[in-house]
C-alpha cells in the first residue's frame, strides 16, 4: 500500500461518508419488507408512502445492528434522538427524511487499516433511505432531457447507517483499504451485506488538498462513486484537479461534484451556497433512544472476532506478516479458521496457508476438504516425503474428491521420495545430455540451469524435488 501521496508538493486530505443498508427483515420505521429486487411498489404501507396520518415506529433490530457496527468500530454508543431533514424531492415521500442530527447513536470510534494507519470515525447514525426514481426519455437515463420520471418506493424507509470518518485518509490506497476493511467488518458482524454494486453500501468522498502542515483547504464532496476502484480513481482525480486550480491562483468553491466513471472526471453538481436549508428539528413523532448499559454490553459481548483480530491470529500462527497477501486473502474469504483447524490437527500452518490461498478460491468459508486430511498432506511435505509440486497434485485430488488420505494418494500416484543416489545419477545424466547448457551454467549464466533442471524433471516424470536438483547442480559446478 502506498504510504504517501503527493502531487506537486500537495497532499490530499480525505474523509469518507459511507451509507450502508442494514440487513433487517423490515424497514426502519414500518413493517414492510426490506427486500431488494421485488416488483416496484409492492413493499409499501402508509408510513412508507408518507400518507396523511401515518406515524413512524422504530425497528429494534435496526438499533441493535447500528450498535453492533458502532461497537465494532470502537465507537461509544450513546443516548440519541431523531431529527427531520426537510427538503423536497419526488423520491422523498414525506418531503423530509428522518435521520439523526445533534445526537447520533454512535460517536468517536476508529478503524485501523492493515499496515496500522488509524482512521478516526466521527459518528455513525441511523436514517431512512429514499425511494428510487428512473428517468424516462432523454439520453442514458439521466435527469437532464428526460420526459418524465417514475418513482418506486420499495426502498423508501429501508434502514441506513451513515458512517462518517474523520479526514484522516491521505492516499487513494488508504481510501480503498478503508472501504474494504469497513465492508469486512460490516459483513462479519452481520450488519449489512455491504455490496457497492447493489447499492447496499454507498461511498461519498470529501476531498481537499493542502501543503503539508498547512491548514485544511476547502473541500468538495464527490458522489456517484460506485466501486472500490472508483474510490481511488475519483479522489486522485479530484485532488489533482484542486491542486491545478490552486496553482493557477483560483479559489476552490465548496461544492458537491459528480464522479463520471466513463470520462474519469468529477463535474459540478451543485454548489453548497445553493443548497437547501434543511431546517433540522427533533422528530416529534419519535422518542429518545437510550440503550442501557446491559444492552450495550450484551451487544459487545456478542460481537464475533473482527477481521483485524483474525488476521493477527492467522499471521501469528503461520509466522507471516500482518499485511502479507496470503493473510489478507485467506481471512477475507473466511478461511482463516480453517487454517487454524489444520494446525490444530497437527498440520503445518505455513504450508496450509499457501495451499488454501492457491487452491481454495472457490471453497467459501467452509472448505469441503477435512482439516485433518490437509494436515496429513502438510506433514508429508514438511518431512520431505513430498515435493511442493507433488503436494499440489495431491491437493487437486483432495479438492475433486472432498478430501482423502495423502499417503495413499501419493503412493497411488507413484510419488516416492527419491533417494539421493537416484537423484544424483539423474543429475549427472542431465549434465551429460545438455553440454551447452552445462557450459553456460558453469560460466555463470544462472538461466542455463533451467534446461538442466528441466531435463531431470522430465527423466523423473516430475517427481524430482526441484530444490534438491538445483542444489546438486550447484554442488557439481563448484567442483567442476
Amino acid at each position: 500500500m502506498n504510504e504517501t501521496w503527493t502531487f506537486n508538493g500537495y497532499e490530499m486530505v480525505v474523509g469518507l461518508e459511507v451509507h450502508v443498508e442494514l440487513a433487517t427483515r423490515t424497514k426502519l420505521f414500518s413493517a414492510s419488507p426490506n427486500r431488494f429486487g421485488d416488483e416496484p411498489n409492492t413493499n409499501i404501507d402508509p408510513v412508507t408512502l408518507g400518507l396523511p396520518g401515518a406515524l413512524p415506529v422504530l425497528n429494534r433490530q435496526a438499533v441493535e445492528l447500528a450498535m453492533r457496527l458502532g461497537l465494532a468500530l470502537d465507537c461509544t454508543v450513546q443516548r440519541s434522538t431523531f431529527a427531520r431533514k426537510n427538503y423536497f424531492y419526488p423520491d422523498m415521500p414525506k418531503a423530509y427524511q428522518i435521520s439523526q442530527y445533534d445526537e447520533p447513536i454512535c460517536v468517536d470510534g476508529w478503524l485501523d487499516l492493515p499496515g496500522s494507519i488509524r482512521v478516526g470515525i466521527e459518528r455513525a447514525h441511523l436514517e431512512e433511505d429514499t425511494g428510487k426514481s428512473t428517468h424516462v426519455g432523454g439520453s442514458g437515463g439521466r435527469i437532464h432531457g428526460s420526459d418524465f420520471s417514475l418513482i418506486d418506493f420499495n426502498r423508501a424507509g429501508v434502514p441506513l447507517v451513515e458512517i462518517v470518518s474523520r479526514p484522516d485518509i491521505r492516499t487513494p490506497d488508504q481510501a480503498k483499504a478503508y472501504v474494504g476493511e469497513l465492508r469486512a467488518i460490516l459483513v462479519a458482524v452481520g450488519a449489512s451485506d455491504a455490496k457497492m454494486e447493489e447499492g447496499s453500501m454507498r461511498v461519498d468522498a470529501n476531498v481537499s488538498v493542502r501543503l503539508p502542515g498547512a491548514e485544511f483547504g476547502t473541500r468538495c464532496e464527490i458522489k456517484n462513486v460506485n466501486s472500490v476502484r472508483s474510490v481511488g480513481r475519483a479522489i486522485e482525480y479530484e485532488a489533482q484537479r484542486q491542486v491545478g486550480m490552486l496553482e493557477a491562483g483560483e479559489v476552490i468553491r465548496q461544492e458537491t461534484r459528480h464522479w463520471d466513471e466513463n470520462d474519469g472526471r468529477t463535474h459540478t453538481l451543485r454548489s453548497k451556497e445553493d443548497a437547501d436549508d434543511y431546517r433540522y428539528f427533533q422528530e416529534p413523532d419519535l422518542v429518545v433512544v437510550d440503550p442501557d448499559a446491559e444492552w450495550i454490553e450484551r451487544v459487545r459481548a456478542g460481537l464475533p472476532m473482527l477481521p483485524a483480530a483474525r488476521r493477527a491470529r492467522l499471521a501469528e500462527v503461520t509466522g507471516q506478516a500482518l499485511d502479507a497477501e496470503a493473510i489478507l486473502v485467506v481471512t477475507e474469504r473466511g478461511q482463516d479458521a480453517y487454517v487454524l483447524a489444520v494446525a490444530n490437527a497437527g498440520g503445518d500452518a505455513g504450508r496450509a496457508l499457501v495451499h488454501v490461498k492457491e487452491a481454495f478460491a472457490e471453497q467459501g468459508d467452509a472448505p469441503i476438504v477435512p482439516a485433518a486430511d490437509l494436515a496429513g498432506l502438510t506433514r508429508l511435505e514438511v518431512d520431505g516425503k513430498l515435493t511442493a509440486t507433488q503436494a499440489k497434485q495431491v491437493l487437486a485430488e483432495f479438492v475433486t474428491n472432498g478430501g482423502g488420505d495423502a499417503e495413499t494418494i501419493a503412493a497411488a500416484k507413484g510419488f516416492e521420495a527419491m533417494d539421493t543416489g537416484e537423484l544424483e545419477s539423474m543429475v549427472d545424466d542431465a549434465i551429460e545430455s545438455q553440454p551447452d547448457a552445462w557450459a553456460k551454467f558453469c560460466a555463470g549464466e544462472g538461466k542455463a540451469m533451467g534446461a538442466l533442471v528441466g531435463a531431470v524433471m522430465k527423466a523423473s516424470k516430475g517427481q524430482a524435488d526441484g530444490k534438491a536438483v538445483s542444489a546438486l547442480l550447484e554442488q557439481r559446478r563448484a567442483v567442476a
Binding site: D147, L150, V287
Partner: protein, 108 residues
Amino acid sequence: MRAVAWLFVSDRITPEAVAKVAKLARLSLSDDELDQATHQLSAMLDHFADIDALDLDDVEPMTHPTPIANVMREDIEMDCLDRDEVLAAAPAAEDGRFRVPPILGLDD
C-alpha cells in the same frame, strides 16, 4: 442569533425573507400576496417578541410533553398495501410506479 428587538415595528421581517421562505415551502406568491404576507407576518412577529424578555438561559428546550424513551417494535413483517389500489389513487402512475414530470429545479 437573537431577533433584534428594537427594529421599528413594520420591519420585523423583510419581503426578501418572506420570498425566500415561500420558495423553501414551494409556495408562489403574487406581488400583492407577498406584500400582504410581509405585513401579516411582521405583525405576528412583533407580538411574538414578548418572549425576548424572558430569561431562559438555564432552561432546556422541551420538544416533547412525555418523558418516554425506547419505544421500538420487533423486526416482523406486516401486510403491505395493495399496489393497484394505491396507484389508482395516485395523480399519475405508469408501469407500477408513480409518474412525475421531469425532475428539474431541485437539488439532484
